[in-house]
Symmetry: C2
Subunit: 325 residues, 2 copies
Amino acid sequence: MVSIKQIAKAVGVSPATVSNALTGKGRVSPMMVDRIQSMAKDLGYRPSLAGRALQRGQTGILGLVMPDLTNPLFPRIAQHLSIAADSRGLGILIGDSRGSAEEQSQALHRLVDRGVDGLLVVPQKGTSPELQPVPTVIINTASDPRNDVSADHGGGGRLVARHITDLGHRKVAILGGDPVSEVQRDRIAGMSAEFNNVVEARVLWGEAGLSALVGEIMNGATAVLTTSDLLALKVQSQLTRSKLSVPGDVSLTGFDDLPLATAMHPTLTTVAQDVKQTTERALEIVTRMIAGEAGPASGETIPMRLEPRQSTSNPKQTANQEETL
Amino acid sequence: MVSIKQIAKAVGVSPATVSNALTGKGRVSPMMVDRIQSMAKDLGYRPSLAGRALQRGQTGILGLVMPDLTNPLFPRIAQHLSIAADSRGLGILIGDSRGSAEEQSQALHRLVDRGVDGLLVVPQKGTSPELQPVPTVIINTASDPRNDVSADHGGGGRLVARHITDLGHRKVAILGGDPVSEVQRDRIAGMSAEFNNVVEARVLWGEAGLSALVGEIMNGATAVLTTSDLLALKVQSQLTRSKLSVPGDVSLTGFDDLPLATAMHPTLTTVAQDVKQTTERALEIVTRMIAGEAGPASGETIPMRLEPRQSTSNPKQTANQEETL
DNA sequence: TTTGTGTGATTAAACGTTCAATCAAAGGAA
DNA sequence: TTCCTTTGATTGAACGTTTAATCACACAAA
């Protein structure tokens, strides 16, 4: 490994001058800067991040903690974050909360011990990660008071709900995976708010809810709104087994716009979140915090986007629909 | 931040002794070790990884480069790797090849510049990542001469093929996503080898292949084997549109056992890879290389596992089946 | 007594970088 | 000339850790 000293010796100058020339900080003559830079290139100089980290007290590394790395959104978050990060010369170290609050806390500690300059945390559902000694941005949902930036899950819920309302549905079922999740609660709250009292909506949760669905439909529900695409796929399976077709007998919506949403038949109406924008904002906030320019939770929210596809249509005319129009 | 010096001062001893006591290296009296350790705990001492990295020339960080972080397998790889890594006190820095060979090379460079001690690379399909100045383990597939460890994709192909053969199918279609992918080619090669000449198998690729599928079935094919679960879902959509049912009219198989495989209806027969074992072996190999104990590509292969589910069954009796039994 | 052998601790340098403080030289103004 | 300012470079310390070399001392053997 070639160091600053070697360049200094090769050019016949002091290490400090080399450092100054390379970082553009002190006072160095233009011609000397040239000589040093080209010599650095010739020798294939790569600054030692370790040396720099020690001196500056910053590693240039950010920690990313997710509730569960098998989260279907993780790939997209990781990708955008990774791209945005290395355009700023930062690295992303991963940490997995493995589904529990204690593991989450340990993951945070490990990253802090590694000397990360900042943390990006998607909290374990239902938990509020303990405060760490480094700048931390929390990506969760609007209703979390600690939330720094997130998709507008409530708004997303309103979007699908409005879509379903516009199509003429007046009685629907809403299916969530786990009521502990603030994100899912916000999505459902958005739906409910939009439905207000023009649409009758029954909220169901988890496996029990999944089983209860067919009953709801027999009872007159003409659409099922879920809080995730995978859940929607499960619902579709359930419906198929009960000889109910989508969207013929019942309309169906998901959330997140995973790859499977367009692979399904019918393609799934869902709500997409702008992961790119969210992660970029998160990164901006955390770098700003690191620079010491920022304060507490800003709580911004990025709009979601409805992706209307084949799985939603007008409701089949039944006895329950007489009041429509 | 509390450093070794502060502990030294607090205990009234030299920094070197503290270092020795904490790492158990030099000669320190047992009682002194006790005093130092408890003082370290009291003060909340955390060793500076930067300082250590500078002195030892090792960062304790590994780089993980994937062809595309949105790869559906990435979450599982990242998770198991992350867990296995931090049980050894290592960190995982992520890099994204973003679908191109050049980006892959840049990602590798960035990680090397960051001072990673080793690299774990899932190569961009069809490429062979350039040699890096740090120990690198390549996770690809058996037919790649540079492969260090991977799932036995060929064996997986043989597994499904045998399953389909055992069920009595004698004419099938195989659908791959992209012939450039060595993994997919190996999977298909395994299928073909197993089918040998007892089952007639037509190999199709990509979107064109997807469209040609129905024709193949009209032509007597009773099963469709794909190289990925998502592809299988697409096939099912296509079949549904053509009023063909799974597995009634045609059996269907996937690959990888993604979450969607059990959410579908019917649940998808697929082949699971033991990501945990693969990543653990990869980690073991790379740490061994770093310790200087290992040589060139070992090329091990981890067996895959068939997951028989509802999407496969005996073929429907048709004119083409008269030779069966 | 001298010589030798452990034992437990210290010293000092090194890893590569940065940065404040310092210095030498040159040029301009008085 | 002397004094001041500017420019371009150097010195030296510091970040926190590790480690080889050294040292002081006690105790046993000669």
